[in-house]
Symmetry: C2
């Protein structure tokens, strides 16, 4: 069984960087070591698929990759033949609904877990790569048939994780409060809060924090814990 | 047919005020003119129903009202007999799921629209009073059987509405961007952004903005528009 090759970004945009630029080395490592020349892009999280595809093509062309849009032909056939997946950000509910409606969710899962096809996800594309979308920040603009997701990892991620602003007078819940509310639900497991600029690399059964900043891990019944870049989080496969 | 009597608060807490204090006069007007002495409280949006009930009882006792918790007996019977409803804030997904699971959603709708029973909602309790919960800010911690809600009004509200912070370096979508994404979805209608401290009073077919601040209205295909306290928004019943 080939090793799972997954890179999950908190966000594609980070303050002070161009689109995907901060993660360029990790993205190239992921694709280069798997001899990827063409990436299958999944634009379902935004409304304008063609516009989104052009934006992504432009960046990856500079780095030497060809990009195909999954919406350009038969999505299941495209997923069955893909050399690599990139699932971009936008609205997580819309993305997950389209993955179900186009019947590609299980195909992507099988290709990544069984065939070792590399998966790059960003923001909403990171949410859907985890166990479920229960910890997205997005507005539920459409109703997907389930909140269960591709489950390339058996835990949840909160992308764009934000620390509370000590000067805020706003009374809406902080991100941490929302995650702790989720963990009051029966069966809820660990949630990794990835700040913008944080990424998670999963190679087989090895999970490593990458990117620019430390990340915050919430395990039900425990105090939240900070982990530095480079930390080994492989234990999350068995929590 | 009795007139609908509905007061929807953006939030129960507002900076500088005690719980519900900023809306005390409007809440008392709603209940007094309908000769309410006992309020049926719906605590489903939080996990600790009894603790939540005690908090609400304490405030309403000072104002001269008795409060019953819908969870203390048969919820359908309690809703059928209620003199008034207060649906409190917390997690909108959890609240809506419990309304469905306890089979009280249609009962509350019927009692408010047909029998003229007053409805007070705050935050999540405001979201579920509208057409659907598609414009909640909450994390989808549980999966409700639908996003369609009590529909006391035929449009959507975004409570805790926040203007973009011009100094922010965060790359997650602004609230306005999220609402505009929702309005790209086929069939999406108006969304009223209620800032914390804003409330909406619906008396029959008359809708009036109340509270402390102006509110922001999003109508698909139009520029967002600001409305002052006191504005008549009755036209939203026919958009």
């Amino acid at each position: 069984m080939p090793a799972r090759q997954v890179l999950l970004l908190s966000s594609s945009k980070v303050h002070g960087y161009e689109y995907l630029e901060y993660a360029k080395d990790d993205i190239n490592n992921l694709f280069k070591k798997n001899n990827v020349s063409t990436i299958l892009f999944v634009p379902y999280a935004l409304k304008d698929y063609d516009g989104y595809l052009r934006q992504v093509e432009e960046v990856f062309a500079k780095w030497g990759y060809k990009v195909n849009g999954i919406h350009k032909g038969n999505p299941v056939e495209a997923a069955e033949k893909a050399e690599a997946f990139f699932v971009g950000g936008g609205n997580t509910f819309q993305l997950l609904k389209e993955l179900y409606d186009n019947k590609v969710l299980q195909v992507i899962r099988k290709r990544v877990l069984n065939d070792g096809i590399p998966y790059l996800g960003s923001s909403a594309g990171t949410n859907v790569a985890t166990k479920s979308i229960h910890t997205t920040n997005d507005m539920p603009i459409v109703y997907p048939p389930s909140f269960e997701a591709i489950a390339l990892v058996p835990f949840n991620i909160n992308p764009h994780y934000q620390d509370p602003d000590p000067d805020s007078t706003h009374k809406g819940e902080t991100r941490e409060e929302r995650i702790l509310q989720f963990q009051e639900v029966s069966g809820a497991g660990p949630v990794l809060g990835l700040r913008e600029g944080c990424t998670l690399l999963i190679e087989g059964d090895k999970i490593t924090l990458k990117g620019l900043h430390k990340s915050r891990l919430f395990i039900p019944g425990k105090e939240p814990q900070e982990f530095d870049v480079g930390a080994d989080l492989s234990f999350l496969l068995n929590v």
